[in-house]
């Protein structure tokens, strides 16, 4: 049985949703352009991009015109990546990099270069084999430091990575493994270490046989002289793995649970393709549930990158670091090793951060209060504000309310000095309201 594919209308509205779910939203006109390809070619254009990855537009300049120093300056790691989300021509690759950053959530290890290297690994490996990815992540220096893998030795086993390997990376909590499995996996994973160099810091990450516990272990009921590679494979072969991987991967793109039959088919596909996630992702992006199901809250960094894309605006100062932080998603700084809580992006605090994000743009493009047209109608004002955000889809309900607001402003503009000025304020307010509307917070 083939996996279900969406056969309904694939117009600009559907293309817009796809661009938000699988990327960072459309640049002006991009939704319409993508819709012309039809669903299948549209999805392939994202999952199988042709040509070299490029960054389009002006490269970032901060602190009075200086280029970014992602490995050195505070917050520049975040800006460096946000810039790729905004200017990149392969948004799905970038989006999958974000997915893996959330999946193998690694925070700052005190040496930004290590985190940036891990990020490159996610970008390079993002649509390939999950097995390759897991093996590389397990020996990735940032991860070795983050979850104490470089301190896990024969004489002093450390359970940090072993536990999260099963609970968060491959199987899920309550998947049937025991505390004994955690300890035995920790032993299997022993042997990684690194040197310290006063000039470069942590360096020369490597496996050393003398640090490895080569005795027999019993993991998931199986005996063997397991090492770190076996440890990964034992997890991948565990009966709970494909279910965990498929459900979690699905949840990044579609807010409802996969139908039972689809779940079964995706699991089979994953095994058949020998851990390759590319085919799974294409099936998810073409699934009817993506286009027919409910809207999904945009992750804060996706929302921010998308607003910059809609405005064709680049990074021109470092305010985007703390704005994203307040909105709930500072890159390279997940709340903990479980990553961000994708079901709780919105609360009163993070919404205030999202207001700062749109405010940052509205502020930069403030209309001139001194010479604003005094005869602009409510409808014209709304059209202008929608154009500002590159014509996002809004519901009739929202459109009605925005028009009501626009008319009410005319009602309070009684004095002559208020005619142009209040219309200017109205334009700023409409831009903020569109960005804050439930429609624009979701896709």
């Amino acid at each position: 049985m083939a996996l279900p594919v969406y056969h309904g209308k694939f117009g600009p509205k559907q293309a817009e949703r796809l661009l938000w779910r699988a990327g960072f939203g459309p640049r002006p006109g991009e939704g319409r352009k993508l819709a012309r390809k039809g669903l299948k070619r549209a999805v392939y254009s994202l999952t199988r991009p042709k040509g070299k990855a490029k960054l389009i537009g002006r490269s970032p300049r901060v602190d009075g015109g200086l280029p970014l120093a992602p490995g050195d300056a505070w917050g520049h790691d975040h800006l460096w990546w946000l810039d790729r989300m905004v200017r990149g021509n392969q948004p799905f690759i970038e989006r999958m990099t974000l997915v893996w950053h959330d999946w193998f959530a690694t925070g700052g290890v005190g040496q930004t270069g290590l985190n940036l290297n891990q990020n490159r690994l996610f970008r390079k490996q993002g649509l390939g084999s999950f097995r390759d990815l897991l093996i590389r992540v397990t020996k990735d220096p940032a991860m070795l430091v983050w979850l104490s893998g470089n301190e896990n030795t024969l004489r002093a086993p450390n359970e940090n990575y072993a536990r999260e390997l099963m609970e968060l990376f491959t199987l899920g909590a309550g998947a049937g493994y025991t505390e004994r499995d955690v300890r035995e996996q920790a032993r299997s994973l022993t042997g990684w270490t690194n040197d310290w160099d006063d000039n470069i810091g942590m360096t020369n990450f490597r496996f050393e046989a003398e640090l490895h516990d080569a005795d027999k272990k019993r993991v998931f009921g199986e005996w063997g002289r397991f090492d770190w590679r076996d440890s990964c494979d034992l997890c991948l072969r565990h009966p709970a793995h494909d279910d965990y991987l498929v459900r979690r991967l699905w949840s990044y793109f579609i807010p409802t649970k996969p139908p039972k039959k689809t779940l079964r088919q995706l699991k089979r596909l994953y095994r058949k393709k020998r851990y390759r996630v590319g085919p799974l992702l294409e099936a998810i992006l073409m699934h009817p549930a993506l286009y027919q199901g409910p809207r999904m809250v945009k992750p804060p960094i996706v929302q921010i990158a998308g607003m910059l894309r809609a405005r064709k605006r680049g990074i021109d100062d470092d305010s985007w670091v703390w704005i994203a932080d307040n909105a709930g998603q500072r890159l390279f700084d997940p709340p903990n090793v479980a990553g961000w809580d994708e079901e709780r992006w919105l609360d009163t605090a993070s919404v205030a951060g999202r207001w700062s994000a749109s405010g940052r743009l509205v502020d930069a493009d403030r209309v001139d209060e001194e010479s604003y047209p005094e005869d602009e109608t409510a409808r014209e004002a709304l059209q202008k504000a929608l154009r500002y955000w590159a014509h996002p889809t809004i519901s009739e309900r929202t459109e009605k309310e925005l028009l009501r607001f626009a008319r009410n402003v005319e009602g309070v503009a009684v004095s002559e000095w208020q005619q142009g000025r209040y219309r200017a304020l109205r334009q700023n307010a409409l831009r903020a309201l569109i960005a804050a509307s439930p429609d624009f917070q979701t896709s």
Binding site: E179, R366, W417, L425, L433
Partner: protein, 458 residues
């Protein structure tokens, strides 16, 4: 999982910057004053100081004239009625090492299990209720309050068949049940019973994201970063600003009834955001606490702000914060542990003194807790792995001050070589619900009838 708290000092700094910038720029667009022209909020012209009746609080009021006429009266009216009891929840994120908070310094087994992390017998005051245990030197403020009868200690708290996953165990504590599927917090369910539909700050998280224990099914709750809240709206002021926020609230309310689940969530939060903004409008960063707090940090500032808000009569019932520092100390435990615990204990002491100075101390208790304790045997990276039995503390003038359960000792560890527990967190929740809030615990905690009711409140 090992990391310090999410926000950095730089963030706090730039946030203040934002406030300043927002204010400065709101003023930039100001033309020469014409007759009848309203002043933009926050330009300094419409700002005045407001002394709350509690006496000590000086809160700065922005644009009071722009609030709708009833808002202030409403606030004061609430203040008069807002003398209900308050619970503050402080979470040690990562699983705090109970054996380092209260350490059996003379126990030879402790000395051998903790060869590098042990506290010397000469250090730290003995805990008067069980002098085998000594307080960590930086926990001295807790000892001080304990000697005044204001700290109830739970020296070995947990639950049966402990789970050593951070996320699962924390979830159990947050929801008040050993059920991975529960979607509301235990305090959230309390608020669903006693709260109202127009008061988001009845459940207030101060760390910038909603504490899971406050998750409700019905009534709104709020999250802020620290003790002030506003939305930045450059280029919009006066009448237009008031209309804009009215429209924002209506957008939220309309979509809250949508058939689309995504729009529904976004709509609900938009409406709550509007309500919170209105409630918090009178508060700014400028709070002058009546007692000294530890020097600037998000945690002491949040507690100082919380005391000020309570002093001004804001109708807060439950507040939640994370303790500063990270407690998932798999390696090099002592430095991080000491820094975080010190700031926590110093701040909690200041908060208690603040409440006493404001005459609010009979209305507030604070529960300090963590998802589990750590393994008695240190792990060779000068750290500790996940354990089971942990510690918790209930602080407040109304806390009974007598330990609940007993320290279970290193002689009889559980099958995973972890400390056993002698009290259950769900029994503590039941007691708090009944003895502090006067509510039926059975309505909030599943299986409440099966738990004991330790006496917690004097």
């Amino acid at each position: 999982m090992s990391r310090p708290s999410r926000k950095t000092c730089c963030n706090e700094h730039t946030r203040a910057e934002l406030a300043r910038r927002g204010l400065a720029e709101a003023g930039k667009g100001l033309p020469a004053i014409e007759t009848g022209m309203p002043l933009p909020a926050g330009t300094g012209l419409s700002r005045r100081s407001f002394m709350a009746r509690a006496g000590a609080l000086a809160a700065t009021v922005y644009g009071a004239r722009l609030l709708d006429p009833g808002a202030y009266g409403e606030g004061i009216a609430r203040a008069a009625g807002a003398n209900s009891r308050v619970l503050v929840s402080i979470f040690f994120d990562g699983g705090i090492d109970a054996l380092s908070v209260l350490a059996p310094v003379n126990d030879p087994k402790y000395q051998s299990l903790r060869s590098s992390l042990r506290i010397d017998p000469g250090q730290g005051s003995p805990w008067t209720e069980d002098p085998r245990l000594h307080w960590h030197p930086v926990a001295e403020p807790l000892n001080e309050l304990h000697q005044e009868g204001k700290v109830t200690v739970f020296p070995a708290i947990g639950y049966s068949s402990p789970d050593q996953s951070h996320f699962t165990s924390r979830h159990y504590w947050e929801v008040g049940a050993l059920d991975p599927g529960t979607r509301t917090g235990w305090l959230g369910r309390l608020l669903d019973g006693v709260g109202s539909n127009d008061n988001p700050i009845q459940g207030l998280a101060l760390d910038g994201s909603l504490a899971p224990s406050l998750a409700t099914a019905k009534v709104p709750v709020a999250a802020m970063w620290g003790p002030s809240y506003d939305l930045w709206t450059p280029g919009v002021w006066g009448d237009v600003e008031a209309l804009m926020f009215d429209s924002y609230r209506r957008l939220g309310a309309k979509h809250e009834r949508s058939g689309d689940a995504g729009l529904r969530v976004a709509g609900r939060v938009a409406r709550q955001t509007s309500q919170l903004r209105k409630q918090m409008a009178p508060f700014s960063d400028q709070i002058s606490p009546p007692v000294p707090y530890p020097d600037d940090g998000h945690f002491p500032e949040s507690l100082a702000g919380l005391a000020a808000m309570l002093g001004a009569g804001l109708p807060i019932r439950c507040a939640a914060l994370s303790a500063p520092g990270g407690y998932d100390t798999h390696d090099n435990q002592e430095g991080e542990f000491r820094r975080g615990l010190k700031e926590t204990c110093d701040s909690v002491l200041a908060f208690q003194r603040d409440l006493e100075a404001r005459g609010l101390d009979d209305r507030v208790v604070t529960l300090l807790w963590s998802e589990f304790g750590r393994r008695p045997e240190e792990n060779g990276s000068a750290g500790t792995d996940h354990g089971a039995g942990g510690c918790a503390f209930l602080v407040g003038s109304k806390a009974r001050g007598k330990m609940v359960g007993e320290w279970t000792g290193l002689g009889k560890l559980d099958a995973d070589d972890n400390l056993r527990n002698s009290s259950d967190f769900r029994a503590v929740y039941c007691s708090l619900l009944e003895q502090w809030f006067g509510r039926d615990a059975a309505a909030v905690i599943p299986g409440a009838a099966g738990f004991g009711r330790p006496a917690l409140i004097a």
